[in-house]
Point group: C2
Chain length 239, copies 2
C-alpha cells in the first residue's frame, strides 16, 4: 500500500483532502503542527480526523513560529482577528491580515523530512506523495496557496532530498486547489466525513472550544454549507 | 543599513559566511536552530560568533526534527557517527550517513518566515537577503548543498511570500559554495575571525565540549587548516 503524508490541521479543507487521499488508496500518515496559534483547538479535531481516516501514524510537531511574531493567527501576538465586514478573503484587496509568514513552506518542509525518514520515494518506493488542502478560491490573497508556488516547491523538493537524487519523484497533491467551499463540502459528505468533527475558526471560544461564527474563516465555512445545500453541523457562538 | 539573515550553526563555515555578509555591509540577523543534535554544543559557539559579528539580533529556534528520527546527527537516534576510515564526505559514494533529512529546506523556510516578519523585501526594502554557508566541495553528497537546489529554493521563495507578491527579490547567498575548506579558512583569518570560537565536530565530548578529531567533520576541518597553512586552534581529544 502506497504511503502518503497528509497535512492535517483539523479544519474542513484538510479533512476533505485526507478523505480524497484515503479514497485514492493511500496509506495515511497524518502530520499536524502546534504553533501557538489561536486555533490550537483544531489539534483535537485533527486527532479525531486522523482516527476517522484510519491513519497509520499521526505526528504533531511543535513549531516555533510565534518566536517571530507578525500575524493575528498567533495567540500571543496581541493583534485582533478581523471580524464582520472588516474580514476579507484576500484576493484583489491584498494579503489578508491573518496570513502567517512562510507557513505552508515550513509545513511542507517538515512533510518532506518525514517522507524521507519513512523511505518514501526511495528504492522500490518510486514516489513521494504529500497532500495539502490549499485552495486558491477562498484564499487567493495568500501567496503560498497559489498553484505556481506549489509547482516551485515540488521542483525544489525534487532537488532537496535523497528521493530527488535517486531520480524518483515528489508530488505535492492539491486536490482542493480550484474547488469552491461548497464543492469541497459535497465531496466530504459523499465520502462519509462528518464535518462536525472539524474546526476552522480563527478566534474560537477558549472556554468551550466553539467557533465564533463571524471571523473570515467561519463566514466562508457557513456560506459553503449554504451553497452546498448541506446542514452546517457547527455550533457558532455569535451570529 | 540593509538587513541580512545569516544561518549560524556555530561551525567554521557559517561563521565565515557571517563575516562575508558583515563585510559586504549588511546588518546581521543571526538565526540558529536547536534540534536535539549531538552538536547542540555548537549553539554556545553560535552565540559567541553572533556577538563577534555585531549581530542586531540572534534567535535560536527549537525544532522538532528528532521526532522523525533517521539520522546519526540526532543525539537520541542511537545511530553511531562513522569514525576514522568509515567516515566519508559523500560525493560519488552516495549520501553520507550523517545527512539530516530536508534540513536546509527547513532552516531556509524559517529564515524566510523571519525575513517576512522583519519586513525584508517589502515596501522600500527591495531585497530579502539570506546567507547560508553550504558548500559543494566537502559536502557534495548532500543533495541540499547543491547550487541547483539553492536556485530552486530561491525561485520557490519568490512565490511563497509577500515579498514575492510585491515583485521584490529574495536572494539566497551561498558565498562558500565552490570554495575549498582552506580557501574558506583564509577568508575568515583575513577578516579577523578567531576560529577557536567555532565548533564543527559531529560527536563532541559531552563532558568538556571538545571536538573528537576523528569524525568526518573534524577530519575535513583539520585538513583545511593544514592546507591553508594556518595553525588549527581546535583542541581535539582523539588523534
Amino acid at each position: 500500500m502506497k504511503k502518503a503524508i497528509i497535512l492535517l490541521s483539523g479544519g474542513l479543507d484538510s479533512a476533505t483532502c485526507g478523505v480524497i487521499a484515503r479514497d485514492m488508496g493511500f496509506e495515511i500518515y497524518a502530520l499536524s503542527f502546534s504553533y501557538g496559534q489561536r486555533n490550537a483547538f483544531e489539534l483535537d479535531a485533527a486527532r479525531g480526523v486522523a482516527l476517522f481516516l484510519g491513519a497509520r501514524e499521526h505526528r504533531v510537531i511543535n513549531i516555533d513560529l510565534a518566536a517571530f511574531g507578525g500575524s493575528a493567527l498567533f495567540a500571543s501576538s496581541g493583534v485582533d482577528v478581523p471580524k464582520g465586514d472588516k474580514a476579507g478573503g484576500g484576493g484583489a484587496s491584498g494579503i489578508p491580515p491573518t496570513y502567517v509568514p512562510a507557513r505552508n513552506t515550513i509545513f511542507l518542509s517538515y512533510a518532506l523530512a518525514w517522507a524521507e525518514v519513512l523511505g518514501m520515494g526511495q528504492g522500490a518506493d518510486l514516489c513521494c506523495d504529500i497532500f495539502i488542502g490549499v485552495n486558491n478560491v477562498d484564499y487567493s490573497g495568500y501567496p503560498d496557496c497559489r498553484p505556481e508556488y506549489i509547482a516551485a516547491f515540488e521542483k525544489m523538493a525534487n532537488l532537496a532530498t535523497v528521493a530527488g537524487v535517486g531520480g524518483h519523484k515528489t508530488t505535492i497533491h492539491t486536490p482542493l486547489m480550484s474547488l469552491s467551499k461548497a464543492e469541497i463540502i459535497k465531496i466530504g459528505v459523499k465520502a462519509g466525513l462528518d464535518y462536525g468533527m472539524t474546526r476552522t475558526c480563527y478566534d474560537p471560544d477558549s472556554q468551550n472550544g466553539g467557533a465564533c461564527g463571524v471571523c473570515d474563516s467561519c463566514q466562508i465555512r457557513k456560506k459553503g454549507f449554504e451553497q452546498a445545500g448541506v446542514a452546517d453541523p457547527t455550533a457558532y457562538f455569535y451570529g
